[in-house]
């Protein structure tokens, strides 16, 4: 397994953060501070650096500090002993990512370069919310396994929108409906195969991670639930059958856009039965499993960003999580309001670095 770590990080014009320059350790990096000081902003900056996106918002301009024109995050990233310089800059209408000063082929290509996994209070919707976010997890994993997935995802989405538009504007007897459905079947089948393979790897890893960090006596089962029938012919037949209905409902009834990764706690659906604490444990298990699966696919352990875990989990589960992470040997950046709960120094001597975050300033503690 290769070692992947951010060695140093600078940020300018990013939310409330003062211009910063910090060196990170290869193991645990603990950022302590009261609420509203900028801890989450720091993790968001790292996430932006790695993916050119935010885990909080789709409107990236929010990331630019008030009164500033642009935000820029830059870092030295070391993978397998080789150092590279990465940067992401944002300004109105522009998002520029660079690796060693060069433009990546695409932002998607950029995002798989430095795998990160983020756990934050908002990610609980992965367990409580609709299938859309779980599909994204599956696609992300599929993408690490095989970069060509992106083509299938995009082509399927466009064919789906096109068929819907034909249905709504030209009706179910339009001559080209068959053609769009042919394309839906072709790309949908490819997408389904990718997701099935991703789920087959992810599922057992989630179940194992939940055993390690979840509450005693509860068991999590994970399975891929396709949003349409198996096989080309059955899928095509279902599309043809549902034309009138899809036209009326204004969306297609069957297909991979309705896939889900079903989560069951002691044989009952997590949605509805789980407590807040259980949902968080489920999401953490998903993230830990994602780390393991991506690590296997890419031979490199993703960087883990943990936002405010101590408020999310109780003492016992925080300990279990940190134990599970110590065995995984990747770089971790975590924030907390209560650094005294983070007793990880014992577990991995010398691999912990402490920082204090106060009013947007970050200092070594």
């Amino acid at each position: 397994m290769h070692q992947l770590a951010i060695e140093s990080l600078t940020a300018r014009g990013f939310r409330n953060l003062e211009p910063l320059e910090i060196s990170l350790g290869p193991g645990f990096n603990v950022f302590a501070g009261d609420n509203g000081q900028g801890k989450t902003n720091l993790l968001e900056a790292v996430y932006l650096l790695a993916t050119s996106r935010s885990f909080r918002t789709g409107r990236l301009l929010e990331l630019v500090a008030h009164g500033q024109e642009a935000a820029a995050v830059r870092a030295a990233v070391v993978e397998e002993g080789i150092r590279r310089e990465q940067s992401v800059g944002l300004r109105r209408g522009l998002r520029a990512a660079r690796i060693d000063g060069k433009r990546p082929a695409s932002l998607a290509a950029y995002a798989v370069n430095t795998p990160v996994v983020a756990f934050h209070p908002g990610s609980v919707t992965l367990s409580t919310g609709s299938g859309a976010e779980r599909r994204r997890v599956l696609d992300r994993i599929a993408l690490y396994r095989e970069p060509g997935v992106l083509g299938a995802v995009e082509a399927y989405a466009k064919a789906l929108r096109s068929r819907q538009r034909v249905l709504e504007q030209r009706g179910e007897h339009s001559r080209d409906l068959d053609d769009w459905e042919d394309l839906l079947v072709r790309h949908g089948q490819a997408l389904r195969a990718h997701r099935e393979a991703a789920a087959a790897e992810l599922g057992p890893a989630v179940e194992a991670a939940f055993l390690a960090i979840g509450p005693e006596g509860s068991e999590l089962a994970v399975r891929y639930a396709p949003g349409g029938p198996a096989g080309e012919e059955a899928f095509r037949a279902a599309l043809v059958r549902d034309r009138a209905r899809d036209q009326a409902r204004r969306s297609a009834s069957v297909g991979p856009h309705r896939d889900d990764l079903v989560l069951e706690l002691n044989a009952r659906p997590v949605r509805g039965v789980a407590s807040q604490g259980q949902h968080r444990a489920v999401v953490l298990a998903l993230h830990l499993a994602e780390i393991d699966v991506v690590a296997r696919a890419r031979s490199v352990r993703p960087i883990l960003l943990l936002d405010d875990v101590s408020s999310e989990l109780d003492r016992g589960r925080t300990d279990a999580l940190l134990r599970a992470l110590s065995n995984r040997s990747g770089q971790v950046l975590l924030t907390t309001t209560r650094p005294e709960l983070m007793e990880i120094g014992r577990l991995r001597e010398g691999s912990r670095r402490d920082f204090r975050v106060i009013a947007g300033q970050i200092a070594v503690a």
Partner: protein, 200 residues
């Protein structure tokens, strides 16, 4: 800026890939460099639409004689009239011609199916295509629409619409470029190349 200059800048800036600044550079260049350049250009431009137009048979750029436009591919007697290549745009036709490997003739659709842009089958010149196939006794149609989602849908539509005519319909292959190292192929192209592999 003189209103005349401003007007010319505005006109030039309507060309694809030309912004106001570039347009202004062009105007100043035309004003200050050799006089013959701007005069010749002006002459050519003013005659352009009288002398050239879309070929009435295929849609390629053709010369107008006695009110009819025909392109040099359609008037080239050495071309195989039974082989017809369907492309989306004149640019694509020119790219295929540059390769010099096409011995048949062309048909330019002008657009692709694209419900998201409001383009349906009725907006494509399918009737003209069918008439052309019948007139020339075409036996094979090569569909060379781009490998995008809209291009694929258009190819499928053509296959379905032309099938009953009894012509062979084929689709150009998609894959890695010649002479390039495989390592530079993007993942989607590589995936297509693998999916479309041929038995040795």
């Amino acid at each position: 800026m003189s209103p005349k200059v401003r007007r010319l800048v505005k006109l030039l800036a309507r060309l694809p890939g030309v912004g106001e600044k570039t347009a202004q550079r062009y105007v100043l260049w035309l004003l200050t460099s050799e006089e013959s350049l701007s005069r010749e250009l002006g002459d050519e431009l003013s005659r352009l639409r009288d002398e050239l137009g879309p070929c009435e048979r295929c849609g390629n750029v053709g010369e107008i004689h006695e009110g009819r436009a025909l392109c040099d591919v359609c008037t080239d007697g050495k071309r195989d009239a039974k082989l017809l290549c369907v492309v989306a745009r004149v640019h694509d036709l020119m790219a295929i011609e540059r390769a010099g490997a096409m011995r048949g003739r062309y048909f330019v659709l002008g657009k692709l199916l694209s419900p998201l842009e409001g383009i349906g089958p009725e907006d494509l010149p399918l009737d003209r295509l069918v008439a052309r196939i019948r007139e020339d006794g075409v036996t094979e149609v090569i569909v060379a629409t781009p490998p995008s989602v809209d291009g694929e849908a258009t190819a499928l539509l053509l296959k379905r619409e032309l099938g009953p005519l009894g012509v062979a319909v084929s689709r150009i292959a998609s894959g890695v470029p010649h002479g390039g190292d495989l390592e530079f192929a993007d993942p989607i192209t590589m995936g297509r190349a693998l999916a479309g592999r041929q038995r040795l």
